[in-house]
């Protein structure tokens, strides 16, 4: 066993500001466990009634894409103009489309 003291892990905090809206990433914090993370998130991020629901997830569980690989990740969508409505030629008199 190592003598090194264990540090509190990092948690990402997501808050729903009102029903109907999605949870949005608000920031992060350190906490010993999920209960503490939730309570700390409430104390840090919703002191002025910013939310009606909080999600916390330990940061290490988030798999993030690598910005260095943005080319192969996102560029393939760039030349697919036919996925957009403006690609299709319709006369101006056609309404409701």
């Amino acid at each position: 066993m190592s003598d090194k003291k264990k540090n509190w892990p990092l948690w990402e905090v997501f808050v729903r500001s009102k029903n109907g809206l999605e949870h949005r990433h608000f920031g992060s914090l350190h906490a010993a466990d999920e209960e503490m993370a939730l309570e700390n998130a409430r104390d840090v991020y919703t002191r002025r009634s910013e939310g009606v629901s909080i999600w916390v997830v330990e940061s290490k569980h988030i798999k993030a894409s690598n910005p260095d690989e943005n080319g192969e990740m996102f560029e393939p969508a760039a030349d697919k103009v036919y996925r957009h409505p403006t690609f299709y030629d319709l006369p101006d008199e056609v309404k409701h489309m």
Binding site: G20, K80, Y82, P85, F87, Y88, E93, K95, M97
Partner: protein, 318 residues
């Protein structure tokens, strides 16, 4: 929970809906609200998935690369929309496996329109123009429905679908400006898809068993008949631009109401198709079940690979 407690919760719930507040998955909701939403959202998801099949029929035979990539993109969107909807449905506490089982066993329904065959290329035009046109009219009010995950999924779906109808109409327009034979093909597709498209809005308000409750919960914001009328009023002028004739002798502009009067819908046909006796019911379901079963080894292989990788990591760490 005592009866009184449930009643109190129901009152709070109804008041929330009345104030146009959204319901989120962890909020208390009446069991019937949950069940009705599972039924409607899953039917909607199944329709996206089965809806890929009639169009899939034409991907390899599209008349040009331009048409092919557009059709491919549309079918791809439908797979994605099925996924958004299944995920929204799962927030209500039903698993993906159960949802698939309901579809594959024939217990769950999907939109009856997909039980009609796609016999010519013009059908790709007619489906985009009419079937997606009707779907959009059905879906736009759902962006504002009371259940949060469903409403948010519909916002994304509606945004992405805006090209579907235009690509269909463009196909129709090209055919109608082509040879006499091509125009005839477009007319034939309109003749076959018109009435089933009108049936997509469901039974008349007088016959609809779910409308009243669904309106109260703001699961539905407009009735079947209102939506159907809106579709007809929007679509007739579009047919005129194409130079095509809507196959309804009773279709007539009504000066007084400011809407089109239209002929009688063959509800007997509608119920026959709903009950499984449409031209392609068996074929569609079988194709779907086959796709699921034939894909099993791929799902298993991915899982086996993942387990192997995890085991390797554990071994390295120890």
């Amino acid at each position: 929970m005592s009866e009184q407690e449930v009643k109190n919760l129901e009152e709070i719930f109804e008041a929330k809906i009345a104030r146009d507040e959204k319901i989120e998955p962890k909020d208390w909701m009446p069991e019937k609200y949950r069940k009705t939403h599972i039924r409607q959202i899953s039917q909607h998801a199944h329709s996206e998935i089965v809806g890929m099949l009639p169009e899939g029929n034409w991907i390899t035979r599209a008349p040009s690369l331009r048409r092919k990539v557009a059709l491919l993109a549309k079918v791809q969107d439908e797979a994605g929309h099925g996924l958004y909807l299944y995920s929204a449905c799962e927030t209500l506490g039903i698993s993906r496996e159960e949802l698939y089982e309901q579809l594959h066993s024939g217990k769950a329904k999907y939109s009856s329109i997909f039980n009609y065959p796609t016999v010519t290329w013009a059908d790709m035009g007619a489906i985009g123009w009419l079937v997606d046109g009707a779907a959009i009219i059905n879906q736009v009010p759902l962006c504002n429905t009371s259940f949060g995950p469903y409403a948010r999924a519909m916002v994304r779906v509606c945004k992405e679908e805006s090209f579907h109808q235009r690509q269909g109409y463009e196909i129709m327009l090209t055919l109608c400006r082509g040879t006499e034979e091509q125009k005839q093909m477009a007319q034939d597709a309109l003749n076959r898809w018109w009435w089933p498209s009108l049936m997509m809005f469901g039974p008349t308000d007088a016959e609809s068993t779910h409308t009243e409750q669904s309106m109260k919960w703001k699961l539905k914001r407009k009735t079947n008949d209102e939506l159907r009328q809106q579709f007809i009023d929007q679509t007739v002028p579009q047919a005129e631009i194409l130079g095509l004739t809507i196959p309804d002798e009773d279709l007539k502009w009504n000066e007084e109401t400011g809407q089109y009067d239209f002929g009688k819908i063959n509800w007997n046909e509608f119920w026959q198709v709903v009950k499984g006796h449409g031209p392609c019911n068996k074929e569609r379901l079988q194709t779907r079940v086959d796709a699921w079963e034939n894909g099993e080894w791929v799902r298993d292989a991915a899982m086996a690979y993942s387990e192997k990788q995890t085991a390797k990591k554990v071994q390295k760490a120890s």
